[in-house]
């Protein structure tokens, strides 16, 4: 009897067992949901709740900081044959323990130090875990181009399909469809694993390409005509011919989108006493209005679907707008600057700056790395 009872328990699926147990998850994750950055791989809810409780509990906050310090020490003290392992453990823990992400978590700095520690190591060139650290680092930077170029140049992760998929998606997001297509094909030709996943991603990419109305690529984009916004009207409510509007412009400028030429404004010459060439000739007044079909000819066009067409936009070509990377220089007193630079130099000597740095330093370093992810790498390692 007892045996069958035990058998019964062992065949219960984990969900039924979990529901039957009196374990409660806690609902902090629901209360603080706005403060949680979703993770690609998902989160452990118990850890998440514990971390979210630290928002209100200073003791918990201290214990989190202490735990982070210990994990960083464990990296330095590691003696085993897989030195990447403590880094991965540290990264995973920081991701879980600092749900909002943000600069104060120090995650970007940890990513950077991890990838810099092993970029030249043959042991990790094809290690999926190492590649994933690089890809997560790329996700946290303003422009990942430099990272993907570095990985490509140094042959890091080239046997894994995830590298080609991520690179292609990045290129696609920047409207470099031809390059994205080539990247997918390169991965397939190199038989990156798992190849099924890569082929599936390629099929999806291809389907998206087919759905696009016009294949916009770098070459095509340069030839795209400039759109003139607004309607330029003469005093007599007649449209000025485009040839007159553009007569003072370089003929090549019409097609060059990157040249930020100011809009030409039509000047009415009526004030100067000249006869207006655009005023209607009233001597030839209309004798007949024409048939209804003639009068309504503007309404013959069949409306197309606007939703499916996207206007190609290139980042950084607008004039006058503030760019994402532009920032206001903050005035720093010279005395403070000296002490700050000394402090920074002192920290640089340690491989793991994160332990000594306070929040301000950490945020500053994170900001610099986001703008220039390979700033601490030796110059000769960077792709030319």
């Amino acid at each position: 009897m007892a045996e069958t009872e035990i058998e019964k328990i062992t065949t219960i699926d984990p969900e039924t067992e979990f529901l039957a147990s009196k374990i409660r998850n806690g609902n902090e994750w629901e209360t603080f949901k706005e403060n949680v950055r979703p993770l690609k791989r998902g989160r452990n809810v118990n850890l998440l709740n514990h971390a979210l409780n630290s928002h209100t509990d200073n003791e918990l906050k201290k214990s989190l900081m202490e735990q982070r310090r210990k994990l960083i020490e464990a990296i330095e003290e590691y003696q085993g044959d897989d030195p990447l392992l403590p880094w991965i453990q540290c990264i995973k823990w920081v991701q879980e323990a600092f749900p909002p992400g943000g600069d104060s978590s120090g995650l970007v700095v940890i990513y950077e130090q991890c990838v810099r520690a092993f970029w030249h190591s043959e042991l990790y060139k094809d290690d999926l875990r190492y590649l994933k650290v690089w890809l997560e680092y790329a996700d946290n930077c303003f422009d990942a181009d430099v990272i993907y170029a570095f990985l490509d140049a140094n042959g890091i992760g080239k046997t894994h399909s995830i590298f080609y998929i991520s690179y292609a998606l990045h290129l696609e997001s920047k409207n470099k469809f031809k390059a994205a297509n080539q990247m997918m094909e390169l991965g397939i030709s190199r038989n990156a694993q798992p190849v099924d996943k890569l082929k599936a991603a390629y099929r999806q990419f291809f389907a998206r390409s087919m759905a696009r109305p016009i294949a916009i690529d770098d070459a095509v984009e340069k030839l795209a005509p400039t759109r003139s916004f607004g309607t330029v009207l003469a005093k007599g409510e007649n449209r000025a011919p485009l040839s007159i509007l553009n007569s003072n412009r370089d003929p090549c400028a019409k097609n060059d989108r990157t040249r930020a030429a100011p809009l030409s404004i039509y000047k009415d010459s009526a004030d100067t006493g000249d006869t207006d060439p655009h005023k209607p000739d009233l001597s030839h007044s209309w004798h007949t209005l024409g048939a209804r079909a003639d009068r309504n000819k503007e309404n013959n066009a069949i409306p197309g679907k606007w939703k499916s067409y996207k206007i190609p936009q290139r980042p950084g070509t607008r004039t006058g707008g503030a760019t994402a990377s532009a920032f206001i220089p903050v005035f720093v007193d010279e005395e403070c600057q000296d002490s700050q630079s000394k402090k920074a130099e002192g920290c640089k000597s340690s491989n793991l700056k994160i332990r000594q740095e306070d929040d301000k330093e950490l945020k500053r370093e994170t900001e610099l790395l986001r703008k220039n992810p390979l700033r601490n790498f030796p110059q000769n390692s960077l792709p030319r």
Partner: protein, 207 residues
């Protein structure tokens, strides 16, 4: 002497079955929307349970869910339904990525003797509302589904239930070493529904 009529919130077996099956229809729609199984433009906003809810406009899914809720209602009235699981799988590999488990406890006395129970609609609605809110908030801990997915519904019934011809016997589609989160439950006093989501805990060395 003045008299007054007091309306009691009486719940019958049929009424409870209708509440639970309708809840499942809305919960399924909410899961499919929030987890991105179908594109967001294929959903329309309606008000239900005092919340803005999203319902699919995809004819195939609508028909599937309508047939499903009708069948669930029938099983609930008979007291034969133990659990309903909405499974989200990878379209390419059929790997199970998520399981939304709705476990049902039925008051046997109501089924056998046909008695009714008392509970206000408002209270039931509040409990359902809490679950719907949790479904929407679950993206804080669930993994990103960055590949096309499909869904399936498993019904755990009593052994003596005849399998309708539109249904087939299935394996449990379990996840190995899952992460599990209990959500709120609701109770009509005839059917108690416990909700749980289990998901694949992705590791760094997994492709």
């Amino acid at each position: 002497m003045a008299s007054r009529t007091v309306a009691k919130d009486i719940i019958t077996l049929r009424g409870s079955a209708a509440i639970v099956s309708e809840f499942f229809g809305y919960a399924a729609n909410s899961i499919l929307y929030n987890r991105g199984v179908y594109p967001e433009e294929s959903f329309v906003k309606v008000k239900k349970y005092g919340l803005p809810m999203l319902l699919t406009e995809d004819e195939g899914v609508k028909t599937f869910l309508a047939n499903l809720t009708a069948q669930l209602s029938e099983w609930l009235e008979a007291g034969k339904l133990q659990r309903v699981v909405l499974v989200i799988m990878s379209k390419a590999t059929s790997e199970v990525l998520e399981r939304w488990n709705f476990s049902i406890e039925t008051d046997c006395e109501v089924v056998e003797k046909g008695v009714s129970r008392e509970k206000s609609d408002k209270e039931i609605m509040r409990e359902i509302q809490a679950i719907m809110r949790q479904i929407a908030s679950s993206i804080t801990y669930l993994p990103c589904l960055d590949e096309p997915c499909i869904f399936d519904v498993l019904a755990y019934t009593d052994k003596d239930v005849a399998v309708p011809f539109t249904w087939v016997e299935s394996d449990p589609k379990l996840i190995a070493n899952p992460q599990m989160v209990k959500l709120h439950s609701f109770d009509t006093k005839i059917h108690k529904v416990d909700t749980l989501v289990s998901y694949k805990n992705d590791e760094w060395d997994e492709q």
